[in-house]
Subunit: 256 residues, 2 copies
Amino acid sequence: MKILLTNDDGIYTKGIEALGEHLSKDHDVLVAAPETEQSAVGHAITLTDPLRVKPVNRNGAFFGYAVKGTPADCVKLAINELMESEPELVVSGINLGANVGINVIYSGTVSAATEGAILGVPAIAVSVNTFKNPDFQPAARFARLLVRLVEQHGLPPHTSLNVNVPAIPGNKVRGVRITRQGVTRFVERFDRRVDPRDNVYYWQCGSTPPFEEDGDTDACALASDYISITPIHHDLTNYGFMESLRSWSFPSISDE
Amino acid sequence: MKILLTNDDGIYTKGIEALGEHLSKDHDVLVAAPETEQSAVGHAITLTDPLRVKPVNRNGAFFGYAVKGTPADCVKLAINELMESEPELVVSGINLGANVGINVIYSGTVSAATEGAILGVPAIAVSVNTFKNPDFQPAARFARLLVRLVEQHGLPPHTSLNVNVPAIPGNKVRGVRITRQGVTRFVERFDRRVDPRDNVYYWQCGSTPPFEEDGDTDACALASDYISITPIHHDLTNYGFMESLRSWSFPSISDE
């Protein structure tokens, strides 16, 4: 297949390199990834600045395009301009750190996959559950196997797969669980400081504490040493509340 | 009620001013909004830069806090640091330009409301369907009326309302429709240029063409001169595909 590979940690990282190596064994891979780290940019796109693009070599050979933009920008630009024909799959990762629970909506890695799905291309986002110098090989091997399954089965329209891999040796991984997005989230704290010119500023900090939730969520699967795969889409409608909302007595604006 | 008011067009815009005026008639409103335009930032949060905050006056009186950050940053920072107690409602807007269809996922205006919902505070995002010098008064009047209804009925957990108002005089608005998020989306084009030092760059441009869709979507309601209200949440799981995905034969990583 023709695969577009991107990420949000930037083109010069180990995660995208490992994924590129493994996927290139079976497929024609083009890399277009942010020039610098774009973590927590969510589904941002760049409208007010130009997107600069430059070719990047690795080990003496062309590796891909570095884009001064967000992961969603990379996917849009690659599909519209950088690739001669449309890819059959978008793969995003491997991200340093899990993308599970509510945190998924802040994730540049996942948004790149979502952007593929919006543009009609099946997509996969892959993350590994640690921030500390992980071995990307198990996740990269699994991604290659999963790509074969996606090639065989296809994905429904506008759907991508959010994959999280435990940061343990491959032979310790207990298997795969199909999960839903849980409620794990970053709980922020702000560190208030005053600069030498008496201006107040804050550092956003905080952590992602474990949340109590039942067994079919992404975070639960990871915590039990399973790979989690959550099928995601971009329809934010809360269908369950529509009927009840219709019963409200809405006034007309000109009533005032 | 105690209301946190924010937006994505920036604190110095007419849309947030109009909304502030109308909501202050009934409520205790605190404004915390981006210092500069943050359109299309999606659900980005700022982790690598400090968030600077400064008080802003308007017409000689304190209007609110300008934050050097995204709409989601503003909501997090206001609730955690700037407000003495938690707000009972987050209102975001009035955005210049509709936030309907797939475009909703790029919207800073909607993400501010979603962030409120994530933090357990009911939330409303309000947009007006034009980019050209609109009269914000009808949308601001409607927002005030809607806030009363939300106060009366409440919203389910983790749910916010995405409200889009046609850019026509209030007495021409035909009513309110409860809608789902449609498939309207920005279709990009990239304008390729070369700078004086022979570096390639691209401007992301494009437009949002009308999409064929049936009658209960946000864009359809707007096009028929109705106010659209879409209840949204942040669960991206495609539940309908989970069962089918479970039937795939996943290999173990150590198979390789």
